[in-house]
C-alpha cells in the first residue's frame, strides 16, 4: 500500500532507532508524550518500545477522542435514546465506552434503544432521509479531524431543510488540551509527538504559541512506525540541543496552515463553547465546539433540551491520570483483572487507541514475551 508500506519498513526503523541509540545522552531520561492514541497504538502494535534505549520513555497523552469524552455525555445520549423514540447514530468506537453505573451505549441498545453504528457522518444523514417520521440524532465526537465531516453534514441537512436530523455535538480541540497538560506540569515531559491527522486540518502553526510558552519541543509525527521513530529522533535532537520548536515530520500530509476549506467550514457551523468537561482534564475553557445559533435547528442539545448529566467517577480507575500522562495503565489496580477489554471499567480500556487497551492487548505480558 503506497504511503503505508514504506513507513512500516523494519530496516529503516532499525536504522533510525540506531541513530537514536547513538544520539541519546546516557545520563538523562527522555520523557516523550505521544499526544495521540494513534501513536500509542503504533508503538504497541509494532513493538517500537523494543527498539528504544532504556532512557527513552513514552508517556501517553489525551489524544483519544473516545477516552476524553466524559461519562456524563454518554449518559446524556443514553437518556435521550431511551426517553424518546429517536434513532441515535454513533461511530462504533463509542458503543462500549462506560457511562455511569456500568452502562454503555451497547448495553442501552441491548435493552432496546434504537442505536445505530455508522461508519461515516453521511450515513446518519441517509438514515434521517430514510426515516422521515423519526428523529435522528448523530452523536458526534472527535478532534479537529472528525469535526469537518460533521460540519459538512450539518450544512447539507440545512440545505435540504431536514427537520428530523440533529447533532449531539461533542467535538473538542487539540491545542487547549495540550496547553492544559503543559500548564499543569504534572506529566513532567521533555517533548511531544504531535498529532498527525488533526494537524492536516489545523496545520503545524497551531502549536506554535503553546510550544513557545512552555518551551516545549514538538514534532508533528505520522502514525506509521517509521514516522514515530523518525519523529522521536527529531525530538531527541531538539532536546539535546536545548531548543524547542514545532517541527513537522509528517510533511507529506501536514502544511503550516492546514486545510483552509475544512477550517472555514468548521468556522461556519461551529463556535467555541465557553467551557467543556474532558475526562481526566476537568473543565477546560474554550476547548470544545458548539453548533452556532444559525444552525440551532440541528443542535440536539437544543431540540431535545438535553440537560447536563454528571456521573460519579469509576472507583479505582486511574484513567484521568493516564490521560494526563501522570500514570501508566499498569499502575491501575483494576488493570487486567477487573478491567479488561471485555468488561472495560474506564474509557482507556475501550478504544484500541486507549492506553490501557494498548497495554492490555499488546503489552500486558511484554516482560514475558521478550524475555
Amino acid at each position: 500500500m503506497k504511503y503505508i508500506d514504506e513507513f512500516r519498513d523494519g530496516d529503516t526503523a532499525r536504522l533510525l532507532a540506531g541513530l537514536i541509540h547513538k544520539e541519546v545522552s546516557p545520563d538523562r531520561n527522555y520523557r516523550l508524550m505521544e499526544f495521540c492514541g494513534g501513536h500509542t497504538h503504533a508503538i504497541f502494535r509494532f513493538g517500537i518500545v523494543d527498539l528504544m534505549p532504556e532512557n527513552v520513555r513514552f508517556v501517553h497523552g489525551p489524544g483519544c477522542p473516545v477516552c476524553v469524552l466524559p461519562a456524563g455525555r454518554i449518559e446524556a445520549a443514553i437518556r435521550l435514546a431511551e426517553s424518546s423514540d429517536i434513532i441515535l447514530c454513533t461511530y462504533a468506537d463509542l458503543m462500549r465506552v462506560p457511562a455511569g453505573k456500568k452502562d454503555s451505549l451497547h448495553k442501552a441498545r441491548a435493552r432496546g434503544a434504537d442505536i445505530r453504528m455508522i461508519y461515516s457522518a453521511t450515513d446518519a444523514l441517509a438514515i434521517a432521509q430514510a426515516n422521515p417520521e423519526r428523529q435522528v440524532v448523530f452523536f458526534a465526537i472527535g478532534f479537529e479531524t472528525t469535526t469537518p465531516p460533521t460540519a459538512a453534514v450539518i450544512r447539507i441537512a440545512a440545505a435540504m431543510a431536514l427537520t428530523n436530523f440533529t447533532v449531539f455535538c461533542n467535538h473538542v480541540l487539540t491545542p487547549p488540551a495540550m496547553a492544559h497538560i503543559l500548564a499543569s506540569g504534572e506529566a513532567s515531559i521533555d517533548g511531544i509527538l504531535g498529532p498527525s491527522h488533526v494537524s492536516t486540518i489545523i496545520g503545524s502553526q497551531a502549536y506554535a504559541d503553546c510550544c513557545a510558552q512552555y518551551r516545549m519541543p514538538l514534532v508533528i509525527a505520522g502514525f506509521e512506525p517509521v514516522d514515530v521513530i523518525q519523529s522521536t529522533l527529531l525530538l531527541i535532537r531538539q532536546i539535546n540541543e536545548g531548543i524547542h520548536r514545532v517541527e513537522n515530520q509528517y510533511t507529506r500530509a501536514v502544511s503550516a496552515s492546514g486545510n483552509r476549506k475544512a477550517k472555514a467550514l468548521m468556522d461556519e457551523i461551529f463556535e467555541l463553547r465557553p467551557r467543556f468537561e474532558w475526562r481526566g482534564l476537568g473543565e477546560l475553557p474554550d476547548s470544545a465546539l458548539a453548533i452556532r445559533h444559525t444552525y440551532a435547528a440541528f443542535d440536539a442539545e437544543k431540540r431535545f433540551h438535553m440537560a447536563p448529566v454528571t456521573t460519579t467517577d469509576i472507583k479505582g480507575c486511574i484513567c484521568p491520570a493516564v490521560l494526563r500522562g501522570v500514570s501508566n495503565p499498569d499502575e491501575c489496580k483494576l488493570f487486567g483483572t477487573v478491567c479488561t477489554p471485555e468488561e472495560p471499567k474506564g474509557a482507556c480500556m475501550v478504544s484500541s487507541e486507549g492506553a490501557c487497551a494498548a497495554y492490555y492487548s499488546y503489552g500486558r505480558f511484554r516482560a514475558e514475551v521478550t524475555s
Binding site: Y119, G142, T145
Partner: protein
C-alpha cells in the same frame, strides 16, 4: 487518534463532490468536499468517509529519499 488511510483517487464526480478511491483493490466512495482541489491519481487521506487532505508526493519523496540515504550510508558502513 483519527484513523485515516491514504488511498488513490480513481474517479471524480464534481457535481456531487464525491470520489471513488482505491486502496490495494478496495474501492470506496468518499466525499471530496473538504478538499480545495483534487485530481484523479492523487492520494488522499480518508477519514470517516471524507478525504481530509491530499498526500503531497514531493514531500513524501523527500522523506523517503532521506531514508534511502540512511540505508545507503548503512550499506557502506
Amino acid at each position: 487518534m483519527c484513523l485515516a488511510v491514504p488511498a488513490r483517487v480513481e474517479a471524480l464526480d464534481e457535481a456531487t463532490a464525491m470520489a471513488v478511491v482505491s486502496l490495494d483493490g478496495i474501492r470506496k466512495e468518499v466525499s471530496t468536499q473538504l478538499l480545495e482541489q483534487v485530481a484523479i491519481g492523487d492520494y488522499v487521506l480518508i477519514h470517516v468517509g471524507f478525504a481530509l487532505e491530499r498526500i503531497d508526493p514531493v514531500e513524501a519523496a523527500k522523506t523517503l529519499a532521506l531514508f534511502a540515504e540512511l540505508r545507503a550510508m548503512d550499506g557502506n558502513a
